[in-house]
Amino acid sequence: MKRWIEANSWTLGLAALLVALLLATKLIQPGFGASGLDSLARAALPFALATVGMAIVVLAGGIDLSIAAMMAVASVTGAVLMAGASDAQAVLVVIAVLALGLAMGAINGVLIVASRVPDIVVTLAMLFVWQGVALLILNAPGGGAAGWLRAMGAGGVPLPGLGWLPRGIVFLAIVTALIWLPIRRSKLGLRLYAIGSDPMAAFRSGVPVGQTRIAAYALCGLFAALGGLSVTMGTGIGEPIPGPYLLASVAAVVLGGVVLGGGRGGLIGPILAVFILRTVRMDLTLLSVDPNVAAIVEGTIMVAVVMFGAVLATRGRRT
């Protein structure tokens, strides 16, 4: 038990921070409740999915700068194909978009592994490619979304004993658990951590490093597709110009305790970090702080928290 707490201290700290922030929100805005939580969850959903995708790649020792552009491709592809389609057809569309996400990510991965060009360069180039593809498919926001898909992200799910949870959070939890838990417990999960931690040692331990790296990028693509669909889910249309998901996801990954460079961290921390960053933004808006000042505050909080963590880590090592 003590060990478990030690191993997850960062995540537990983030959870405590999030609870404190939500309580602060309640103080700032006494009316904050179900609908506020619901809109927070809805706004955070695409960020959270992008962050999960980014976290997987970073854990495996890489980075994917094309994540927001892939989300745009997924969003417009889904919206264009779903416009005027029946509910049953829309299910096929969702499956196709998820497959498209996997494929886009796999292409990124194959290019990185085959060309041996640094991941940051390859994915920067692919950012422009996927961006162009998204605009080719739909050059202005448009298309449609199936009614059942739109309903998935909004409203609440009653939980026996706990009261009530926003659907956005339930959706995020189920999707992430369904995809990540089986992987984390499999050989692939160990291999992802292994290549992030020490690629040479992983190679010597018999890990197929190239294949594992491709798998990491493909998973990132899959979560980018989910993120893109969640954008369409929220707005009902496809968005060819992606939101600020790239930098926000990197920020949440770092704040969430995943070490840039790979090997250390998990997915719960980054997801909590997304909600922390969104809540801070919401609170600053509620306090009617100038948005430019708000941006400075957000950046300062990030640096301060990560530095605090680094100090704690060195202390811990010394004692």
């Binding site: 160990l190 040692a201 992983a202 018999g206 090997g263």
Partner: protein
């Protein structure tokens, strides 16, 4: 070649005529190795003989340009360490191949290593209390070597390849490891044992395969007194090829030494090193790979801290916590890896001027004229080919090395720490570097000169300290420092208490 194996067809692993070239360097010309069931075969060779390239080829990390590797009579198609394992060949590399951020148990799962046999071997090897949930990152290096070996043993390999396994182990663990390795062979398996240590080889090996300059020059049975023969084989016939100019033997001056090192210890490799380095002297350092010389130079240059011992400069005790402290005390390091010392995409002039800038002025404009004069003089002295001076990366290796030394000459050096300065450099440039080192010494500098080429001791040094297993085992005057004397000393065969 005495006593070749009578029948190679029953060899479990049979490598013949293996060759490998890297650019202009022919790392392996024709390496061969045979191991039979029940044998422990030592793979030996001096620094740069091609051992590590050969090991990488056997385990599929590198592809050979020519030659065959047969395992159990079939042509090997091993293309990766994982592939080698399917063929029954399991390597334990010099650097641990464990994932630092995973626990011991997860590392085992990663390679499908059965847990029960692993536990058995770990306790057999002297670590019965190993916590399998501990992160690899949190374990000491010696434990990692044991975990690495136990993991290999748990797979029950037909051929076990151990590369410098005992280098980081304390003596009690070494004894257990040797016992276990010998027992493997006695149970009918085969072991390839790459090592510098004659004592261990004599204890457990049946045969030794000797590499020299990328060639297998001998395959001999281990018997008492074979050490001397093996040393001669590693050196080859042409021992005295390099012509040493006669230098008057310098008496060791009585005054306070420029640099005095006493009982220096750090990490697991460097255990106890002491020597004096005087003004005007070039002191050679002779050691096989990984005997603690890297750590010694790191400590002297302020890159890492010593865990015990003392360093005195001109009679004053010093502790360096940063390279700047060492430089301030007049100790300047020319590292073995030139890429670590140079700004590769900047010009020759800028590279030479960098240490100067630290002295000219911390702030404000750079006095260009003074800089140009000093830099020009340094380039002149060293005869650096400046046709490609715009970017250091475009110079040849030899010219790059001259730049790394030139920067310290321009500054006026007191104590120069040269770490293998002539590695991979043509003979003409080498001569220039020897001459330069002598000139610096004559002008009053003290030079510590580690070299992996034994012949250089006579050419450039006044005396040499020999380090084996992290300790100084001998001090030899340049006139007595022929290669076979140095080689015997470096292998710990002639250990005597240093003066």
């Amino acid at each position: 070649m005495p006593d070749a194996p009578d029948d190679v067809h029953d060899a479990v692993l049979d490598a013949t005529g293996v060759a490998k070239r890297f650019g202009a360097v022919q790392a392996l010309k024709s390496a061969s190795l045979q191991v039979k069931a029940g044998q422990v075969v030592a793979l030996m060779g001096a620094n740069g003989a091609g051992k590590s390239t050969f090991v990488k080829i056997l385990t599929g990390v590198l592809k050979p340009d020519a030659g065959h590797v047969k395992i159990k009579g079939r042509e090997s198609t091993v293309a990766s360490p994982a592939g080698a394992r399917r063929w029954g060949l399991v390597p334990v590399y010099q650097e641990p191949s464990l994932i630092p951020d995973l626990s011991v148990a997860d590392n085992l799962r990663l390679g499908d290593t059965p847990l029960q046999p692993f536990r058995h071997w770990v306790s057999e090897l002297g670590l019965p209390d190993l916590d399998s949930d501990a992160l690899i990152r949190s374990l000491p290096l010696a434990s990692l070597r044991i975990v690495d070996l136990a993991r290999a043993l748990a797979i029950e390999p037909d051929v076990l390849l151990l590369d410098e396994l005992t280098a980081a182990l304390p003596t009690d663990l070494v004894d257990r490891v040797l016992k276990v390795v010998r027992a493997q062979a006695d149970a009918g398996r085969s072991v390839i044992y790459v090592s510098h240590r004659f004592k261990e080889i004599a204890a457990i090996c049946d045969r030794a395969t000797v590499l020299r300059d990328g060639l297998t020059v001998a395959d001999v049975a281990i018997e008492p007194g074979i050490e001397e023969k093996i040393v001669e084989m590693m050196l080859g016939g042409a021992v005295a090829a390099a012509v040493a100019e006669e230098r008057p033997v310098k008496p060791v001056p009585a005054q306070t030494p420029r640099l005095r090192v006493r009982g220096l210890k750090t990490g697991t490799r460097l255990t106890d090193v002491s020597f004096d380095l005087h003004k005007g002297e070039v002191l050679g350092v002779v050691a096989l790979e990984g005997q603690g010389q890297d750590e010694l130079f790191d400590v002297l240059a302020g890159n890492r801290k010593a865990s015990a011992g003392a360093v005195e400069v001109d009679g004053t005790s010093k502790t360096f916590s940063h390279p700047a402290d060492a430089i301030a005390a007049g100790l300047t390091l020319v590292p073995g890896d030139r890429a670590h010392a140079l700004l590769m995409s900047r010009s020759v002039r800028e590279n030479i001027a960098i240490p100067l800038l630290a002295r000219f002025r911390n702030w404000g404009a750079i006095p260009m004229r003074e800089e140009a004069a000093k830099v020009g003089a340094a380039i002149e002295t060293l005869q650096i080919d400046t046709r490609a001076q715009g970017e250091v990366r475009r110079l040849s290796g030899g010219n790059q090395q001259k730049v790394t030394i030139a920067r310290w000459i321009a500054k006026g050096v007191q104590t120069l720490l040269l770490f293998d300065p002539t590695r991979g450099i043509d003979i003409r440039t080498k001569r220039q570097i020897y001459a330069l080192v002598r000139t610096l010494a004559d002008q009053g500098a003290a030079v510590l000169f580690y070299t992996s080429e034994l012949a250089e001791i006579r050419l450039a040094c006044d005396r040499a300290v020999v380090i084996f297993n992290g300790r100084v085992v001998d001090v030899i005057d340049a006139k007595d420092a022929d290669e076979s004397t140095l080689m015997r000393a470096a292998y710990g065969l002639t250990e005597r208490a240093p003066a």
